[in-house]
Amino acid sequence: MSLGHRERVIRALNHQETDRVPVDLGGGPATMIHPDAYEALLRHLGFPEEELVEGPAGEGQIVVPSERVLQRFDIDVRGFQLGGTRGAPNVKTGPTSYVDEWGVTWEKSAHTAPYINVHGPFQDLDEPDVKDLEPVRWPVGDDPDRIRGMREAMEHLRRTTDYAIVLNLPNSTFALSQRLRGFSELFEDLLLNQAFATALQERVTDVICGMATVALRDVGDLIDGVSFADDMGIQTQSYMSRSLYRSMVKPHHARFVATLRALTRARIIMHSDGAIHELLPDLIDVGVEVINPVQVNAEGMDPERLKREFGADLCFWGGVDTQKVLPYGSPADVADEVRRRLTDLGRGGGYVLASVHNIQAEVPPENVVAMFDTALAAGARAG
């Protein structure tokens, strides 16, 4: 039984085994590739040079792979992102800097380097107060300009192909609030300035709920997955204790996911780096159905354990180690890693295979090929 691409993804996310595990490159969140690795891949595959398409801002240097490459690896998913709005365009403040609609300053250290957020409107406040949120011009969440052309493009894809479609919403409450307040500063506010931290996250959530609402009212019926990104872990532990998450961040995640849930039947995918094992029960509780990228070498993120403990409630999207195996292993090592994932995360469905986060510059093309070709050849599972 050979399934169509979309059918395969839908069944897998429904916890059903499929003819082979679905594979992703460039469709779901954090599944793109560094331009250097991509160009090496093109050469390796004997494909002609391409004009590179930059991936979304804020993720470092990444490019969107072309249809030629995606079809070579029989990739099952195609992804969409929200655009900017012409109502509040980025304001250039220099040759290598701009301010975005949130009032966040972005800079790049060289012409070829990616833009990084360097300063936010609330970052310098010593004693932040809820009142400080008032005079700020907040983005208009439900501005439909962000999704112009999206329905037509998705309908075209539906009519002419059988790929699964994922709408990748941008960074969510905590990460966005960190951009506005400062990466470390917001962590401290969670304990020292709780009224401010709550009010800030509420305002941010208002905006992103507006964005999600206008997007999903438009395309919610066309998509198979909707993702949002909010890192909640470092290598060794979660960003915060379970109790602090529950009191200070979870309510905002809950409201946001409820907004998504009300407007689409697509699977709800959360992107979070790091060791988030401890928070998974709470993420399931707010309505997350799929986690990405599944950073398997972070503390407590052993894939067998994750599947055993959470496999009934969660699907997994990612899993192929990018810290050691993909960049430094041999193609045979990569093939072994893939086979392990097909077994530990793939049995009983519930798995879409991809790299753990974007493929970095030094990953040899042979390893990219080994990753996908092993998955394609393996069938429902490795053994």
Binding site: H34, G60, S109, I116, F183, S184, F187, E188, L190, L191, L192, I234, Q235, T236, Q237, S238, Y239, M240, S241, L244, T322, Q323, K324, P327, Y328, Q360, A361, E362
Partner: protein
Amino acid sequence: MADLQALTSAIEAGDRATAARVTNEAIGDGMDPKAILGAMVAAMAEVGRRFQCNEAYVPEMLISARAMKEATALLTPVLVGAGIRPLRTAVIGTIRGDLHDLGKNLVGMMWRGANIEVIDLGTNVAPARFAEAAKEHGADLVGISALLTTTMGGMREAVAAVRAADIPGVKIIVGGAPVTTEFATQIGADAYAPDAATAVDVAKALVNIS
């Protein structure tokens, strides 16, 4: 007499107001500045222990570090006046091409908490800059951090640059999610530390402080 245990507890709890108050009291009472400093260092050692056991997380670490920083600022003039210097000097930074700084910042906080003077070069630091800064400050320790595998090559260059600068007795520690002991050895670093709390033990062992 000021209660130094209250100072320790305040830093452990991230209570900067109490930490500052008790520090001022202790200074006003003419207490031995080394003892006051010792109470602060003990607090950060406990915070580091809690972080390692997942009893404390990043938010708790950061507010403790802030309380320590504010208390230290009050004590520094007294220490300087008494000719008491930090035990060692360290230069830290995130390697060229990499902008992640949480791990580096936590190491900096923990090393300051252990009474090591820390010069933080920030992120995206060129290999040569580590050597230059280490030489300029007479560093005993150089700490280099990376989160991206792509940037690890720069760590090799940074180690080579520091070695070439011939700084007597300098020790190099590397860390960051993709870094390993093997990699540290391969590139000629003196040690690898997997997290900020361990980085204190590793540093102390390398530069002979207890």
